[in-house]
C-alpha cells in the first residue's frame, strides 16, 4: 500500500513538474485572491490586518479546490480514471498518494500566501511553532477531504461545479479552526490556539480514515 501510495504521489508530482500548473497558475491565483480581498475590504486597512488570518485560510481553501480539481482533471482526462482502476493499484494507496501530492502542493502555496499576507496586509507573526503545526494539520485535512470528494466528483461530467459544492461545507470547520489558531499565532487574539489545533488534528484523522476505507468503493462506483 505504502509502495502504491509512493508510486501515485510520485506520478502526480511528476505531472506537476512537467506541467507546472500549481506553480505557474494556482500560486498566482492564490495571491490574486488575497489582492481581491484587499479590494473588497478597502477602505479601512485595519480591517485587513485584523482579518489577515481568515483571508489567508480562505485563499488556501480556494487554492485547495483548484489543486484537487487539477489532481483529478489529470486522472479523468481521456478516461484515465478507468486507468487507475485497471492499474491494479491498492485504492487506499491511491488515496494516500494523491492526498500526499495535493498536500505537498498546498504547503508550497501556503508558504507563498504567508508571505503575501505579511506584505499585503502587514500582519506579523509570533508563535511560529503553533502556526507551523496549524498549517500541517489543516493541510492534511484539506488534502484528505479534497481527495475524497475529488474522486466523488471526478465521475460526473460536471466536476468543475460539483466539487466546490461538496467540498466547501465539509472543510468549513477547517477554515474556521485554522483561522482562529492562526489568529492566536499572530497574537491578534488573547486566547490559546491549541484547542483549535486539536480540532484540526481530529478532522485530518477522521478524513484520512474515511478516505483509506471509502476510496475503494468510490473509485469503483463514483
Amino acid at each position: 500500500m505504502v509502495r502504491d501510495a509512493a508510486l501515485v504521489a510520485g506520478k502526480d508530482l511528476l505531472i506537476e513538474v512537467r506541467s507546472r500548473v500549481t506553480l505557474n497558475q494556482i500560486a498566482p491565483f492564490a495571491v490574486l485572491v488575497l489582492v481581491l480581498f484587499a479590494f473588497a475590504l478597502e477602505p479601512d486597512r485595519g480591517l485587513l490586518t485584523r482579518a489577515a488570518a481568515g483571508l489567508f485560510w480562505l485563499a488556501v481553501t480556494f487554492s485547495a479546490l483548484l489543486a484537487v480539481q487539477r489532481s483529478f482533471a489529470v486522472e479523468s482526462a481521456d478516461g484515465a480514471r478507468d486507468g487507475l482502476r485497471l492499474s491494479g493499484l491498492d485504492p487506499a494507496g491511491i488515496f494516500l498518494g494523491k492526498a500526499a501530492a495535493v498536500a505537498v502542493e498546498l504547503v508550497v502555496l501556503e508558504g507563498l500566501l504567508g508571505l503575501g499576507v505579511v506584505f499585503l496586509y502587514n500582519a506579523d507573526l509570533h508563535g511560529a511553532v503553533l502556526l507551523a503545526i496549524t498549517c500541517v494539520a489543516a493541510t492534511i485535512g484539506l488534502a484528505a477531504a479534497g481527495t475524497i470528494y475529488g474522486v466523488l466528483a471526478a465521475g460526473a461530467r460536471v466536476r468543475e461545479t460539483l466539487l466546490p459544492l461538496l467540498l466547501l461545507p465539509v472543510v468549513a470547520p477547517v477554515v474556521l479552526a485554522a483561522t482562529r489558531a492562526t489568529e492566536a499565532a499572530l497574537g491578534s487574539t488573547a486566547d490559546s490556539g491549541w484547542p483549535w489545533v486539536r480540532l484540526l488534528g481530529a478532522f485530518a484523522a477522521i478524513y484520512l480514515a474515511v478516505g483509506a476505507v471509502a476510496f475503494g468503493p468510490l473509485l469503483e462506483d463514483a
Partner: protein
C-alpha cells in the same frame, strides 16, 4: 391507507397548532412574533431529525448485514425533506430574529451549524442528481452522506468554541428559554407533535415515491431487456 391517516393526523395537528399559535398573546418585548414559538422550535427539531434520518439510512445501507435499497430510499427521502425543513428553520428563525435581535441573522453557533447543515444536504441532493443508476448511486451517496455526518461533531465544536471562546453576542444573552408561561409551552409542544407528524407524512410519501420509481424502473428493466434483445433481430 395508513399514510393517508398519518396525513389527516398531521393536517389536524397542524391546524390546531395554528389556532393555538395565533391565540397566543403578544409578549411585550417580541410583540406578535412571539407566536413563532409555536412552529419555529418544532421545525428546527424536525430539521435535525431529517438530517439524522439521512445519516441513519446511509449508515444502514453501508453496513453489509443490513444493505438494502430501502435504506438508500430512506436516506434520500430524509435528505430532501430535510432541505425543506432546514430552509424553513432558517426562514422562520430569521423572521423571528429580526424583532428579537434587530437583525435577520446572528453568527450564533446553533444558527451557523444549521446553515452548514443546509449546505451539506444540498450537496448530498445535488450528488444524487448527477447519477441515475441505483446500485452505484446508492453506495456513493451513502458514503457521501456519512462523511457529511462525521464532520457535524467537528462543525459543532468549531462553531461553539468560535462563539464562546470569543466573547461576543450569542443566543446566550437573549436566551430563548426566557420566561415562558404555560400557554406558550402548550403551543410549543403541540407544534412539536404537529411538525413531527408532518415530517413523518412527507417522509413516508417521499419514500413511497422512491419505491414506486424503483418499481417502474424494475418493470422498465424487464421490458428494456426484452427490447434490447430484439435489437437487430429481423422483425
Amino acid at each position: 391507507m395508513k399514510i393517508r391517516l398519518l396525513g389527516v393526523a398531521a393536517a389536524a395537528s397542524l391546524a390546531l397548532t395554528l389556532v393555538l399559535g395565533l391565540r397566543l398573546p403578544p409578549t411585550e418585548e417580541q410583540h406578535q412574533y412571539a407566536r413563532l414559538i409555536a412552529i419555529h422550535p418544532a421545525i428546527a427539531w424536525v430539521a435535525y431529525l431529517a438530517f439524522g434520518v439521512m445519516a441513519l439510512g446511509s449508515a444502514l445501507y453501508l453496513w453489509p448485514a443490513t444493505r438494502h435499497r430501502r435504506w438508500d430510499r430512506l436516506a434520500a427521502a430524509g435528505a430532501e425533506v430535510g432541505v425543506v425543513f432546514t430552509a424553513l428553520m432558517l426562514a422562520t428563525g430569521s423572521i423571528w430574529g429580526r424583532p428579537t435581535w434587530g437583525v435577520w441573522w446572528v453568527w450564533d453557533a446553533r444558527l451557523t451549524l444549521s446553515a452548514l447543515m443546509l449546505a451539506l444536504l444540498l450537496g448530498y441532493v445535488a450528488l444524487r442528481r448527477v447519477s441515475v443508476d441505483g446500485e452505484r448511486r446508492a453506495l456513493v451517496s451513502a458514503i457521501a452522506g456519512l462523511s457529511a455526518v462525521v464532520v457535524i461533531p467537528v462543525n459543532h465544536f468549531a462553531v461553539t468554541w468560535w462563539r464562546t471562546l470569543h466573547q461576543g453576542r450569542s443566543l446566550a444573552n437573549i436566551s430563548p428559554a426566557s420566561h415562558l408561561d404555560g400557554q406558550y409551552i402548550q403551543a410549543m409542544l403541540v407544534g412539536f407533535v404537529a411538525m413531527t407528524l408532518v415530517f413523518a407524512y412527507l417522509l413516508a410519501r417521499r419514500f413511497q415515491l422512491e419505491v414506486l420509481a424503483d418499481e417502474i424502473d424494475d418493470a422498465g428493466l424487464a421490458a428494456a431487456i426484452e427490447a434490447r434483445r430484439r435489437e437487430g433481430v429481423p422483425a
